[in-house]
């Protein structure tokens, strides 16, 4: 062995020694998804407050953009370099539980801790009777509508059914100009969900009895309905080039009269378009009165390979106190997951949020199935083809359903 090689080895060894000391027992690493500009600062502040109360524990926050979160977790976990705690989409949780990557939290959860939560939001993170994650973020979807455009078109109330909605959209079209009734998302994340809104109203389900619901009558009717909105010029043109953010921007600019999205749009409107007069209403119902909204939670999970489960749990306990939750949900514009927190006047007296919380009894959460992202992609692709007129609704959905069924097996 040459001297240089020896030196290299030595350097390597000291590096390993150094890194172990940097991540000594008392350090808890937390991977955080960046929901907004405020996410990082909020968690840094919470970590400081926690460290002040627990001087023997260090919290290390790693903020990752949402789009990169899956990729980072996949690479970190396969290399065994994952943090102790991480935020993940609850819809991914089953894959994590199946592989034994995340640890159940039941041994730590005391009844008074569990009592802090609103049940609806804790349930999605429960699998096989065990709690595998805590709902760090919760949201639902409702229809935002532009009151000025509605008034101009002579419409007094937001549409109760999809049939009403179509009549309204036709009235809005008659106003002329480049204003469209239905802001329809057709690109990127949640393109599939935007389709499910209509599908649920028509009485459909994403998965029923272990089979895809994409070839059901409800799904086909919805595809035809949405396509008729597109063909009759009742949506913004070129829907397949509009992501969720793009449609929200059109709404802020007053170019579309409605958009179906999450509570955080209220915060954005307040900051970016304070003069916009808007209301929030339930997603229109179907011909049989069926209704549905999408309930989403993200979970914070504890990894099975964490060497600091005790300290990590303490931090979890801390960020799920009413005080911390209130701070966080105000920053992000999410729904309160904590029952005490929901009584805070900020949430209790907020007209927009009231609509969202009133919809929760009808909320569908992503079904607990493996390969959610795979199914989402298949669904989005099929719907995009229909929107573009490259595929007949029935045949295209049938093909997609077969593909989804193969994934579900």
């Amino acid at each position: 062995m040459t001297i240089t090689q020896k030196l290299c080895l030595l350097a390597g060894a000291s590096l390993i020694a150094f890194s172990t000391s940097a991540f000594a027992d008392s350090t808890v690493r937390v991977t955080i998804a960046e929901y907004s500009k405020g996410t990082g600062p909020y968690f840094e502040e919470a970590a400081k407050a926690f460290e002040a109360a627990n001087p023997d524990t260090k919290i290390q926050i790693e903020v990752v953009p949402w789009d990169n979160l899956q990729q980072k977790l996949t690479t970190d976990i396969s290399a065994g370099a994952n943090a102790d705690l991480s935020i993940i989409g609850t819809r991914w949780l089953l894959d994590y539980v199946k592989e034994g990557i995340v640890a159940p939290l039941d041994e730590h959860i005391k009844p008074d801790f569990k009592a802090r939560f609103i049940d609806t939001f804790l349930t999605p993170s429960v699998m096989d009777g065990k709690v595998y994650g805590l709902p760090i973020a919760a949201s639902a979807r409702a229809m935002y509508y532009n009151k000025d455009i509605f008034a101009k078109a002579g419409i007094d109330t937001p549409p109760a059914t999809w049939a009403d909605f179509k009549t309204d959209a036709e009235k809005i079209k008659k106003l002329g100009g480049e204003t469209y009734g239905f802001g329809l998302q057709g690109k990127e994340i949640e393109t599939d969900v935007y389709f499910y809104y209509g599908m649920w109203s028509n009485g459909g389900e994403i998965v029923k009895d272990g089979k895809s619901g994409l070839d059901s009558k409800a799904a086909i009717d919805t595809a035809k309905l949405y396509k008729s909105f597109i063909d009759e010029g009742l949506t913004q043109p070129g829907v397949t080039s509009y992501s969720r953010e793009d449609v929200q921007n059109l709404f802020k600019q007053g170019k579309v009269a409605t958009v179906i999205t999450a509570p955080f749009l209220s915060n954005q409107i307040k900051a970016e378009a304070p003069n916009l007069k808007y209301g929030v209403a339930p997603i229109p119902a179907g011909p049989n009165g069926d209704k549905g909204t999408y309930g989403v939670t993200d979970s914070i999970v504890l990894f099975e390979n964490s060497k600091n489960k005790e300290a990590a749990w303490k931090f979890l306990d801390f960020i799920f106190t009413t005080e911390q939750r209130t701070k966080f949900d105000k920053v992000e514009g999410f729904l309160p997951v904590n029952a005490e927190e929901a009584k805070d006047p900020y949430f209790a007296d907020n007209a927009d949020l009231k609509v969202f919380t009133s919809l929760l009894p009808n909320a569908r959460f992503a079904p607990v199935i493996p390969g959610w992202e795979d199914i989402a992609q298949t669904t989005s692709n099929a719907i995009q083809k229909i929107y573009l007129g490259q595929g007949e609704p029935e045949a295209t959905l049938k093909e997609a359903a077969d593909k989804v069924n193969a994934t579900l097996k």
């Binding site: 996949t74 976990i77 396969s78 057709g186 690109k187 913004q236 070129g238 397949t240 083809k385």
Partner: protein, 289 residues
Amino acid sequence: MPRATAPYVLIFPSFLLASAIILWPLKEIVSLSLHDVNRFGMLRDFIGLEHFRVLFADPDFIAATWRTLLWTAAVVAGTLIISVPIALILNEDFYGRGIARILIMLPWAISLTMTAIVWRWALNGESGMLNSALRGLGLIDTNIQWLAQAATAFPMQIFIGILVSIPFTVTIFLGGLSSVPDDLYEAAATEGAGSWDQFRLITLPLLRPFINIAFVLNTIYVFNSFPIIWATTQGGPANSTDILVTYLYKTGFRVGKLGEAAAVSLIMFAILLVFTIIYVRLAMREAKA
């Protein structure tokens, strides 16, 4: 040290380094592609070429492969054709040449992702700069939804690809042009050669090695280029603008099929290997000449 073994001993350290950087990951990827792998990269059963079979049965993969070849050919050809005249102009002596050269080179300093995102905004159907410019000029009456369908999105992506490849290519050509001795042109002019003949018979042949290198390097870069397509359409709508890299990313990190993703990257590696061999051969031929 015996003469015969000396070269091997001397090469050994760099070989070791190359193995660590190239061969080891390659071995890992090969093993991923031949096993059933869960979404966190843990190997399960050996399944042979199953992942490759699945890929070749996937029409989206086949379409993405052809599209990658089209994308690479179009961007590289477009870049070379546009860069030659730009380099010729910038090689002329004119007032403000320094500034003109800087302006051509400047976009190179900006990250590809940022350029692509700016274009995504510019191509927005309702509030994009491109539509408002075209409407302002009276060229169109209704907005064009550039990114809504592949028929308009993909040509735009190729156009962006060409724009961002020009600075690098022009730089190579300028280097090449500066090595062409002026007296050749003077001699040609005395013999009565017009400027087209000068270009055809002097400039182009002397520039050829540089065109070859620009061709191969651009091919490798463009073939692997992820940001432009990802930032503008993410390969959509309905996979209609996917190239192999975006297909790879979705398969690996969205859907979590790491085994199939490893197989895609091996196929890409094989295609690029062919390009690299061509490059090495060209480079060696130049070295001999």
